[in-house]
Amino acid sequence: MGEQEASRLIESLFESWGPSLERYSYRATGSRELADDLVQEAFMALYRELRLGKKVENPRGWTLSVVRHHISKHERSLRRQGEQLEPSENMEAFQTGHLLPATPEDDLTALFAVLSEREEEVVLLRMESLKYRDIAEQLGINIKSVGTLLARALRKLQLAAKAKAMGRPVSTRTGRHVAETLQ
């Protein structure tokens, strides 16, 4: 593909899909800078592929794959760093939240605290208007499981909202209660 043609495609993809990918990266990494870099890297990789003359059928899915791949690499490297630290440093790193990707402290976090990681991923991707088929492909799960996970996540969110309204504690993924999380 020619330079101009590939560039135009990337720029339009930035407009239509860039913010969604950025949000997804941010939710997964907890760092805006890192999310920025990951998205840039994904778009550059796509540009290189196009310039090499390769065909990319689904640019959204393709860039999401790149981002997810980089996120998992990033997580592995963080884990390795944690393993190399002394036990006391390890504990300190764990307590200060530097060992694993930080989670943004906002309303969305509080909302998703009741969901499992997989449910959260499905909801996030659905919020970014991905079709069930694309979500299933990205997460490597069955297309029917996408619907099930999504429905289950919504029910959990509904229950958590009711509990919050009634002031009752609800268990979260990290073991804390929703009320505490929201305070």
Binding site: P19, Y47, L52, G53, M127, Y132, L150, A151, L154, Q158
Partner: protein
């Protein structure tokens, strides 16, 4: 209402448009009727809205993010395009993916064209008759100059039992001077030779007909190789036929296509030609002439170089019911030689054979010869000529076996002449030695036999190497017990002591003989180190190589014989074939060093053999261990011999053109200085 309700998944999928048309309409129809499902779907939608609201409330990324990211991307893109010029055009890969069909068709077309060209080139070759004619012309062209041809000869009885012998045929021919010499040798033994030093003098040596060269006139008709089978297909008959073929040759170089053209002109013979590839990948033209008659088939094949049309191999196969034989002559090397470098000695009959055959000068006593030679002082030779003369003297001594420890002294005189002082056993040997040196005009000989010198002078010079005369001591041998145990199984008890003595004598003599050969090689290494041998050109160089080859080959043969005898008399202690080893991977870098290593091994073998079989000094180890050690040393000897062979080959054969040119041969880097010092 008995209809089932839809699950949350289905309701959600319906809302998200993920259901197919029929399923969606079924759900929608159900929702119209079922308030429960409708309310559940409403709850899900409300939850989605709530989540979406929270999602939307996130002000990330901010509205300027897209523009910033685009700018960042464009900056990167610019750098990327600048640093990757290959992207300015189509890469081979992208080109291929874009024009895949065109590319495939083009590649296929090119392949087809190449195949057709190859096929036509293969098929469109000259006719067999043309190839024969061109080959004859090429051979005649070669014959115009003085040449040396070396052929590998293979005579094989294929059926009913395979017997194969390899030998070497060397031909020296000078058309202008009308000089000619040929030698057919097998493992150092001369099987036939012919000499024509000048037009009027012709000699032939055939050990079957007589032990000396005789004056000779060629047969009126040349025998073709196709006639080799006329007397039978057994090995001895084939060998005799080859001798007949040799003796019928004209005084000129051997032509491989002459035989083919004679055979092809006979009735019932078909001649074909094909292009073929040899095992080494080289392409040759193969001419095949066949004749098939009732119960007998003969096939003569000649391989011709497709570029210069010079033949390189001639092979003939004869087949009869239950019998088959093969004979082949393959070119080892053919070299043009400047006539000045063809020394007269090459064309003279071997002196030691001719000594008793011809009268006149050859019958002259050594004293008289010395007198005559002194009168023939010529100009003082150059250094390289002087070294050449020494080689010629050594070769003359070598031909009569005087190099294997006989008490002979070589003295170089300032005039360039060489004085030979020798003490030999008897008068007969004195005559033989005198005759051997007689052809060399630059040699003065002082030869005496033992009866002519006082007893006090009859001492052996240590520099001449060890004596090979071995007498087994009367006392019990170190391995007496082992030999007795082995021999008692095969012979009567009374015979055993005699058999043991016989074998012990045989083994010690052989080991001494191997040592004598190693000493002869060592002496050549001492006399002609690299600094002197490099200056040799032409015949002297060839003669030095020949001497080394003869000794190496004789040493290897004797070493093998030694091992065979050991393996046969003590089968439990020494296994047959154990003494044969692969050539050393780290062969000595020059033949002088290889000669030293070989002598070391040989001396150790001889010491141990004497200790075991001659009772010289009992071995330190027990007899079985000593025997194993001896077997290991014989393996070492075999590999040392191969190392020397390859070093000699490298020294003298590496660049055959240089043998006859003015330049010196290539020399590998010198071996360790320690070895040089020993020399």
């Amino acid at each position: 209402m008995s209809q089932k309700h839809y699950s949350d998944d289905t309701l959600l999928a319906c809302r998200d448009g993920e259901l197919s048309g029929r399923a969606r309409s079924a759900v929608e129809k159900h929702l119209e009727l079922c308030w429960l499902c409708r309310s559940r779907q409403a709850e899900l939608e409300e939850q989605i809205r709530a989540a979406a609201d929270v999602f939307r409330e996130q002000d990330f990324p901010d509205p300027g993010w897209v523009e910033r990211s685009k700018i960042r991307f464009l900056q990167w893109r610019e750098r990327f395009e600048r640093n990757s010029p290959r992207f300015h055009g189509l890469t081979p890969l992208s080109w291929f993916s874009h024009y895949r069909i065109t590319a495939l068709v083009s590649i296929a077309a090119v392949c087809i064209v190449l195949l057709v060209a190859w096929y036509l080139g293969w098929r469109m070759m000259p006719s067999p008759a043309d190839i024969v004619a061109k080959s004859r012309v090429a051979e005649r062209e070669q014959e115009r100059q003085a040449i040396c041809q070396v052929f590998r000869v293979e005579i094989a009885q294929v059926k009913p039992v395979m017997i194969r012998h390899e030998s070497r045929l060397t031909v020296w021919s000078e058309k202008d001077g009308q000089r000619f010499a040929s030698r057919w040798e097998e493992q150092g033994a001369l099987k036939h030779a012919a000499w024509r030093p000048s037009d009027g003098r012709r000699y032939n040596y055939n050990p079957v007909a007589g032990s000396h060269p005789v004056t000779w006139s060629r047969a009126a008709k040349m025998v073709s190789v196709a006639e080799l089978a006329d007397h039978g297909l057994d090995f001895p008959e084939m060998e005799a036929a080859f001798l007949t073929w040799l003796e019928s040759r004209e005084w000129r170089p051997i032509s491989l296509t002459w035989d083919l053209s004679v055979f092809a002109s006979q009735e019932g013979v078909t001649l074909t030609a094909e292009r073929t590839r040899l095992e080494d990948g080289k392409q040759v033209l193969q001419l095949v002439a066949r004749r098939q008659s009732a119960g007998f088939a003969a096939e003569l094949a000649v391989q011709v170089d497709p570029i210069n049309y010079l033949p390189r191999l001639q092979r003939i196969r004869f087949e009869a019911p239950g019998r088959a034989a093969e004979f082949s002559l393959s070119v080892d090397r053919i070299q043009a030689i400047p006539p000045a470098q063809l020394v007269p000695a090459l064309f003279e009959p071997d002196v030691h054979i001719a000594g008793r055959q011809a009268g006149g000068e050859q019958g002259m006593s050594s004293g008289r010869r010395s007198q005559v030679l002194d009168e023939t002082n010529g100009p003082i030779p150059t250094i390289s000529e002087e070294i050449g003369r020494e080689v010629e003297v050594q070769y003359a001594l070598h031909r009569i076996g005087a190099c294997l420890g006989e008490e002979i002294e070589l003295i170089k005189r300032p005039s360039g002449r060489i004085l030979i002082r020798a003490l030999v056993e008897n008068e007969q040997r004195k005559t033989k030695l005198g005759a051997a040196l007689g052809a060399l005009t630059f040699v003065d000989a002082e030869i005496k036999n033992l009866s002519e010198v006082p007893d006090s002078r009859r001492q052996r010079s240590p520099a001449l190497g060890p004596s090979t005369d071995i007498t087994v001591a009367g006392s019990e041998l170190a391995i007496q017990g082992l030999l007795e145990a082995s021999f008692k199984q095969r012979y009567e008890s009374a015979e055993v002591p005699g058999r043991i003595a016989e074998v012990a004598n045989q083994l010690t003599s052989l080991s001494g003989s191997v040592l004598a050969e190693a000493w002869a090689i060592r002496r050549l290494a001492t006399e002609f180190p690299a600094s002197r041998a490099d200056g040799l050109r032409g015949a002297p160089r060839w003669l030095l190589e020949k001497m080394l080859q003869d000794h190496t080959s004789a040493l290897a043969g004797k070493g093998r014989r030694l091992h065979e005898i050991l393996a046969s008399v003590l089968p439990g202690s020494i296994e047959a074939g154990q003494g044969i080893s692969a050539p050393k991977s780290d062969t000595a870098s020059d033949w002088s060093s290889a000669a030293i290593e070989l002598l070391d091994t040989t001396e150790r073998i001889d010491r141990l053999a004497r200790a075991l079989f001659a009772g010289a000094a009992p071995p330190e180890d027990d007899p079985r261990t000593a025997l194993k050690e001896l077997s290991g040393m014989l393996s070492e000897l075999d590999s040392d011999g191969r190392a020397l062979e390859s070093a000699v080959s490298l020294e003298f054969r590496d660049s055959p053109e240089q043998l006859w040119s003015g330049r010196g041969p290539k020399r590998p880097a010198a071996a360790g200085s320690k070895k040089e010092k020993r020399l």
